[in-house]
Symmetry: C2
Subunit: 229 residues, 2 copies
């Protein structure tokens, strides 16, 4: 991987890179326990306090999870941090909402088509269940944000592309903003277009899935534009 940034590196940063190399070498998986501080400081030829500092850096990047009194473990989605692209620091939130939607138009329809081609029975069951749950919550006028994100994430996972499931939740971090912007007004359209997406994937019909996703996004864009005026 290339370095996007090139600032000077501190000793704990260098050691944290050695620990990453060790994780990859030993093929440690999510949930696996790392060697303790004493062993690591011997293996990496570094002081224990530097190793401890390095672990804190790795924890802040969600590569490891430090459990007090138990030890240090590989995180569940190693290396995926909150807000990895730094959207928090984009000042103009209205432009951010519009531009995230523009990117969703590029990504999600072809991803839905990929999911329709590649989803297995287990994937389809999960997508359908999440579609049901979102519909239930919408009808009860309860918060469906998380289940909505999960629905789109399940489709991303069904694409069988290893990059897509890491990308889609980041782009869909806009869903809470959409939901807030369009509160209560998208009920029928969301239910209908979600159902059509789920049915098309279940039928392994890529073009129908792609079109259904476009329709879903078009409704979102129309609503956002109406509210923006």
């Amino acid at each position: 991987m290339t370095n996007l940034l090139s600032e000077e590196k501190s000793l704990p940063q260098k050691i944290s890179e050695d620990i990453i190399a060790l994780i990859l070498e030993e093929n440690l998986q999510p949930g696996d326990k790392l060697p303790n501080e004493t062993i690591l400081s011997e293996r990496l030829n570094a002081g224990r306090s530097s190793v401890r500092e390095a672990m804190k850096l790795l924890a802040s990047r969600n590569i490891v999870t430090i459990r007090q009194g138990s030890g240090t473990y590989i995180a569940s989605s190693p290396g995926m941090v909150d807000d990895p692209l730094g959207f928090t620091f984009i000042g103009n939130k209205q432009k951010l909402i519009n531009d995230l939607l523009e990117v969703r138009f590029l990504l999600e329809p072809p991803i839905a088509a990929m999911a329709a081609t590649r989803a297995d029975k287990k994937d389809i069951k999960k997508i359908t269940a999440l579609c049901d749950e979102v519909e239930d919550l919408l009808k009860k006028h309860e918060d469906h944000t998380q289940k909505d994100i999960d629905f789109h994430a399940a489709i991303a996972l069904s694409s069988k592309n290893v990059v897509v499931p890491r990308l889609v939740p980041v782009i869909n971090s806009s869903i809470p903003l959409f939901v807030e912007t369009t509160r209560g007004t998208l009920l029928d359209e969301t239910i209908e277009t979600h159902r059509e997406i789920a049915d098309a994937i279940a039928a392994h019909d890529p073009l129908r899935a792609q079109d259904a996703m476009y329709l879903h996004l078009v409704y979102n864009r129309k609503r956002i534009q109406m509210i923006g005026k």
Copy 2:
């Protein structure tokens, strides 16, 4: 923004979030200096050592840059970390290369079209200059990796979408892998397709730019498939 992850938060983590809130409130920009530790610990009602720990976390997330003896500053691309989607931890690098290319097929052709529509004179000058530089390096058989990434990043910036320039360098972190995989073999195709992309953007012709980008990616895919056999 939604939290992608929900692990328990330490005191320095909580304070780091307070500091982020303060950065946003005061609309601090890249390069701006933060208040010193004493002032921050008073304003946030926290111990100085916790504030120091929080700053280290923010530095590891590339939100601030700590300059010894000078102070703490907002980083140049706040919140953008190296390898933000954790590709390092995807074990199968051949699948990663293929899947990153699949995502580039979804994103980069329409982004080239957006750039052709929206690029101003300054953007076009920059894209053309980078195209020249990549061509020079290729002809001299020198490493063109960074300039190649810069070329695609300049196109992303010309799209005027605030999300795209944060996304494209992440997806293009695969370029060094491509270059390694296809070393020396892509010379003519890279020169010709890059030039066609740059010319189409300069001519404000979105369809031509989109097609040129497809052609560029198709050459990449063919080459990777040949080598994979």
